[in-house]
Subunit: 340 residues, 2 copies
DNA sequence: ACCCGCTTTGCATACGAATGCAAGGCCGGA
DNA sequence: TCCGGCCTTGCATTCGTATGCAAAGCGGGT
């Protein structure tokens, strides 16, 4: 037995006003006299009326919903970002409709089509790219898109990342200053701009210090692959004395292999540096030196861009790279003179 | 310049049929002749038509959206569950609208009201309770609610948990069998049924083994509080030789304090057991013995209940406790004869 | 007392698809 | 050939709110 729903017409009848008056009372910025407001609020409270968001969307064309595409949540950078994103949007009266891009099943483009079906006011694509015809459709539909922690060439897409190139460079400088001579790199998924930029900056930094990469393996941003990569890199006699891992998630796996499988000491035998500064990086068990990718600021920028484009119809896409500082902890030898 | 939207009427005109015919072609189970289907599909493809989900919701009264309330994502049990939940629902044609219950700002009831405004077809409340008048409103609105990883007395609410009592008991048996004599407990947030049930089972298990609790401290399910609790419990000379921590998230913090602040060996000096079996529990750095709370099965049951209630209108609420086995790893002394 | 201008209000319609109802088409059986 | 019944189809209406427009109300200045 589900009670009939209370509509604005019911409230109007009880308050002795028109349905539009009720609507105006619940529409911020609409004109209504104090007397009307009071009558309507009273009637609404007595009936337990709540505006129907779907109908509102239908009529106004604005859903106050943001579609979010995420590929995986096992890299703990994303839960953190998701939590902050959702909260920030809630504060602005928006909500997140979640779409998981199961890496296997479907491609992101299909998902974005489905997102558009929901009449979202904006889209955030975290760690995912967009086909160019899809980005065109979004533009045609007037739905702004922000790439989060990824960027791509399409100039019509906004993107928020950390300054991956500078971050990578900084790691190189740090490791060189620490006197490391055999420096390795474990890469992320090669299709990701973050991977490419981090590696580019890192290699540039090494080169500028007159050094070259000792060895390299692909980790694909996946834990198990990174572990395998570590086993391979550290198999021979001429093993690295430092390794930069393209994100923290993989770095944990690498440290585990080094310490618990190969019996190496970190940072005694090998220095390990990660990227992201996810919460577990600060846990004493890992105490991982890493590049801080400020999720809070990245999310704030993402929301700012989105809201601007939605509400001001300020149409220019923006691309932002948040500065990325090194977080010096205990997993890598600290050069003399560097403060933690 | 946003192109005018393509509606079913546009498709109808181009295909030479009525708008209802178009609607029927896109409504599974509606009757349409093969000829009509073909004409409509062709026209739709040519125009790039996609049904407007909002309008469909408006007309049909069903949104195929599930509202999800989560309090925090820093306990990594929830990202895992969220990912699985979202994927499973996507496979069934549903989507997740996310609501973060910032523990400070608002209470869950307010949030659920806002969820209801969105005409969701169902609600999942993860680690959160519901006021009784709110649960009545949901019932009145015909919106099924499933509590995830929490249960409460209200018999109109479905709930999916692990068998926390049995899980707690099993930990007690394991620790006693391991010959521990000074067994401590670090509690979760006292308002949570999971906390109460785990402790109840644990104490019952101790009692049945003729033992009593050595000491207890409150961890509130929060990392920092758990660390403090560990410092307090292990401050005196008569420190515990085993501690059951109410979830893994806190257990990591406890292990870190024991090892890196107090210089104790785990499991040499102290055995630590957690609850949840989140992914990092299996990482060698922690290698945490814990109670496996099968997220996959819990999510599957949650979805099953939800869909049943939505689609069959099978109205009886169900409460399910998934069996919870001990995952024996290296953080606690293993009794002779127990297999890992 | 009169007029101008701003605020408030109601009316009517739009948003886009789903669906009850009745009419039309088609088929088979007698 | 005629009739009954089922499958298709279109018409008209519905869902609940927002909003353009025009009318009404109100207040102040002269």
């Amino acid at each position: 037995m589900r009670g009939r729903k209370i509509t604005s017409a019911d409230v109007a009848a009880r308050a002795g006003v028109s349905q539009s008056a009720v609507s105006r009372v619940f529409t911020p910025g609409a004109s209504a006299s104090p007397r009307t407001v009071q009558k309507v609020r009273k009637a609404a409270a007595e009936l337990g009326y709540r505006p129907n968001v779907i109908a509102r969307t239908m009529a106004s064309g604005r859903s106050r919903i943001i579609g979010l595409v995420v590929a995986y949540l096992d890299n703990y950078f994303y839960p953190e970002a998701l939590e902050k994103l959702s909260k920030l949007l809630q504060d602005r009266g928006y909500h997140v409709l979640l779409f998981m891009a199961s890496q296997t099943a479907e491609n992101v483009d299909d998902i974005v089509e489905r997102i558009l079906d929901h009449q979202v006011d904006g889209i955030v694509a975290a760690s995912a790219g967009l086909g160019s015809e899809l980005s065109a459709r979004c533009r045609a539909a007037g739905v702004p898109v922000v790439l989060f922690n990824r960027s791509q060439d399409d100039p019509s897409l906004s993107a928020v990342t950390s300054d991956n190139v500078a971050g990578g460079r900084r790691v190189a400088e740090f490791l060189l200053a620490g006197g490391h001579g055999r420096i390795a790199y474990i890469a992320g998924w090669e299709g990701a701009s973050t991977q490419r930029d981090r590696e580019f900056g890192f290699l540039a930094g090494l080169a500028r210090g007159g050094a070259a990469l000792h060895s390299r393996a692909a980790g694909e941003f996946r834990l198990e692959t990174a572990r395998t990569a570590a086993r391979v890199l550290f198999a021979g006699p001429d093993r690295p004395d430092a390794v930069f891992v393209a994100n923290d998630h993989m770095a944990f796996g690498v440290m585990d292999v080094l310490r618990h499988e190969l019996g190496l000491s970190v940072p005694g035998d090998v220095s390990v540096v990660g990227y992201d500064d996810v919460p577990p990086a600060a846990w004493p068990a890992y105490d991982l030196t890493t590049v801080r990718q400020a999720a809070t600021r990245m999310v704030a920028e993402t929301v700012a861009i989105l809201i601007d484009q939605i509400e001001q119809a300020c149409d220019e896409p923006r691309r932002i790279a948040i500065s990325a500082d090194l977080r010096v902890r205990g997993s890598a030898r600290v050069p003399a003179g560097w403060s933690r």
